[in-house]
């Protein structure tokens, strides 16, 4: 009796009741967890929507330039039409014509396309693969990769697969030089090229063309009458050539670098264009250029190892738009400022001398435009205000930049159609963004 009385004194009924309720709640919680609990997904099955929380150090483009897409979309096709309704397949060479239109060597479509200043794309010449001179509608090309526009309206085409230089003038296509694979100088049809990929027009005097005779490893002058000179050999396979007023042509040769007439190789150091980028890499060089064009004070160039366009001056390649990274190609299809945009593999670049740079985004099958500050209108700046407010680090966290091993879960966020297309879709096929990259997940219903 005494022990029972002592126990009663030690037990607080209120505490005991709370304890019992707590135990009941725990049991109920466990039971409920059993109802709703699901096993953790396999590694990689869920990304949570954030993507990689940090990326490799990269040099980003300038915030004061604006990048947008003026024609095409990532899905390959061969449709003419306005803006993003048009379809390309592997556009490479690009040139600005005297009429302000863009001319594009649409390589896998075997066509030369024209993008008018209003954004409408039409086919200038070509169609089925092959070789045929004649009216533009019946002429045939084979993987044309280079195009140069002359002031008189003529278009010179590096017809890569046919090993020829073609000229399109007044709706007619004819062969200017070359007649098959080989390496020979001489007039017209006696000359031989081997997969010429790049071509540039030099106003002269005398006016002439410069050809990157790629697999012959030569850069060759071609007179407008079709006479082909010896030119000079290059240490690598040249794919791009640019002419500058009063200066010798400069050649882009992947792996070898930018090449001058004496074969002097230049591998300019890459500098970030975004002063706010934290700890940009300092050991990058532009070593594998694939395309270039003359700028007002230097060159605009691209590099096979970086999804970016560079402003090359005095031994320095500043990232104008896109991202240069030593660890990975930070690819994408994203508009915004130079610091937040993303490109795919770039095959061509052209400038109009008025602050507009046009980029042939080969792997995205699109024609992109870079607007320097002097070419921007208030509308352009308003469109881009939101993009410019974001920093590159924030964009990395948002996961739009692709990093191997991380499928971007929602990289399309932030992609906005041009002002003219906002609020409506002109065509069911028009889409302003893209899905994630390769699905790396191995789980139910997955195929690697």
């Amino acid at each position: 009796m005494r022990a029972g009385s002592a126990l009663r004194k030690q037990v607080n009924p209120r505490v005991t009741a709370i304890a019992i309720l707590a135990v009941l709640a725990a049991v109920q919680a466990a039971w409920w967890r059993g109802l709703v609990w699901k096993p953790p997904a396999p590694p990689g099955a869920t990304m949570g929507g954030g993507g990689p929380m940090s990326g490799p150090p990269a040099a980003f483009g300038r915030r004061d330039v604006i990048v947008d897409t003026i024609a095409g979309a990532p899905d390959a096709g061969d449709a003419d039409g306005p803006g993003r309704n048009a379809r390309f397949d592997g556009p490479v060479g690009i040139a600005v014509g005297p009429d302000g239109a863009l001319y594009v060597a649409d390589s896998r479509n075997h066509r030369i396309r024209r993008v008018a200043p209003d954004g409408r794309t039409t086919t200038v010449a070509g169609g089925e693969p092959g070789f045929a001179d004649g009216p533009a509608s019946t002429a045939r090309f084979l993987y044309p990769c280079g195009v140069a526009a002359a002031p008189d309206g003529a278009l010179y085409v590096a017809d890569t697969g046919n090993h020829r230089i073609r000229v399109v003038r007044d709706g007619t296509v004819r062969t200017l030089a070359g007649s098959g694979a080989g390496c020979r100088s001489g007039p017209g049809a006696t000359a031989r090229f081997c997969w010429p990929a790049g071509i540039a027009y030099e106003a002269g005097p005398p006016p002439r063309l410069w050809l990157a005779d790629t697999l012959n490893g030569r850069v060759r002058p071609v007179g407008l009458d079709g006479t082909v000179g010896d030119g000079w050999t290059t240490p690598g396979a040249p794919v791009g050539v640019a002419t500058r007023t009063g200066g010798p042509p400069v050649v882009a040769a992947p792996v070898a670098g930018l090449l001058g007439p004496a074969g002097m190789a230049l591998k300019p150091r890459i500098e970030t264009g975004d002063v706010r980028a934290e700890s940009p890499p300092t050991d990058l060089v532009l070593s594998s250029p694939t395309a270039l064009c003359a700028g007002p004070q230097g060159l605009y160039a691209t590099d096979d190892r970086h999804a970016a366009v560079f402003d090359v001056r005095g031994g320095v390649a500043q990232v104008l738009a896109g991202a240069a990274c030593g660890a990975a190609r930070l690819e994408g299809w994203h508009e915004g400022s130079g610091a937040t945009c993303a490109f795919g593999r770039i095959g061509g670049v052209a400038a109009d001398g008025k602050g507009r740079i046009y980029v042939s985004d080969t792997s995205n099958n699109a024609i992109r435009r870079i607007l320097l500050p002097e070419a921007q209108t208030p509308d352009d700046q308003e469109d881009d205000a939101e993009s410019r407010d974001r920093g590159p680090d924030e964009d990395l966290r948002r996961g739009y930049l692709w990093d191997p091993g991380y499928p971007p879960p929602d990289w399309r966020r932030g992609v906005r159609p041009p002002r003219a297309q906002r609020g409506r879709q002109e065509h069911p096929d028009v889409h302003s963004g893209n899905p994630p990259g390769p699905d790396l997940r191995l789980g139910p219903g997955r195929r690697p």
Binding site: K38, S363, D410, S432
Partner: protein, 355 residues
Amino acid sequence: MAADPASPARRASARRWLVALLLAALAVAGGWAAVRRAVPARPDPWLRAGAMPSLASGVGERWFWVERSKGAPQRLVVAQGREARAIAEADAVTTYHADGQRVAWIERSGKQWRVCVSELGAVGRRVLWQGPEEPWGARLVWPGVCWLRRTPAEAPGLRAHPPLGPQLEVVGASLSGGPVVSVGTLPEEGPGEVLGEHGASLVVAAWRTGAPGNTVFYLVPVGGAPVRRLAGEVGIQHGVLERDGALVWPAPSREATVEAAASCIRRLPARGGGIETIAEWLPARGALFVTQRGLIYVGGEWRSEAWLPGAPTELPRPAPRHRDVAVVAAGERDLLLVSVTAAAAKPMLYRAPLP
């Protein structure tokens, strides 16, 4: 004053109780039937996999999949009845294709890649090709196996120029071995896959990797005629050929504001005509399967469901499934499901009839 058990009042009371009990029983039975109708029954367990299956496909009575247990090599497994056995074990089994009699697959051991074929009723395998370069997308195409391989670029760094960069070659070999012959070349880097044959041509998908990447479908005539691009699509997509030869593939939604958040199904008829969208607003990142009941789309979410594309004007609906299972894949005759109630290293698999 105890009531007489045989009294009328007592009998009436008993009848009332009996009626009430009958009504209650009927209500319970009806409710139970309604619940069972709304919540499908848990399917009967089939067998336990060695690891979570991937690349599953059902061919006739057999199911195939690839699995990798922790610390073990990857295995290509075939299951029939209540038995599963490994056909191949290697560092990686990247792709396979089975018909009713044999299976062809691509495996890697160390740095060596192999294209192999095996009769389903026999032991052993035949190596059709081996080498250091990765082949892609092997498929049994009578009378042999076709796959894709990359031919290097003429010079390094020429990948921005399609005709100069690496090319994707479609090759094939006889089931009995022999030389590997070229069927055609595509202006692509790869990877890709052979989707099947239609007439005297192969239908091939080439993937342009990167972000966002894109997929291009080609028709490759076996006789050497020029290849023809059939369609292009954003992202890396896995297409299938329907029995009538139509090419079908999942694609980012054409209607969703955020296209990547939902998928649609696109179809290119074999007899000509344009590309049509046959279903919209499906879960993203799913896979398409050709079954005896037509196309089935298995969603890409963790608790994935099977969806039957309805009429283009209708929103698709998922087939009912028990909440404890997820759909792995749709085979020719049935669905393969996996338990999702426990993170088992060796998950229980289930089979269920096609919806």
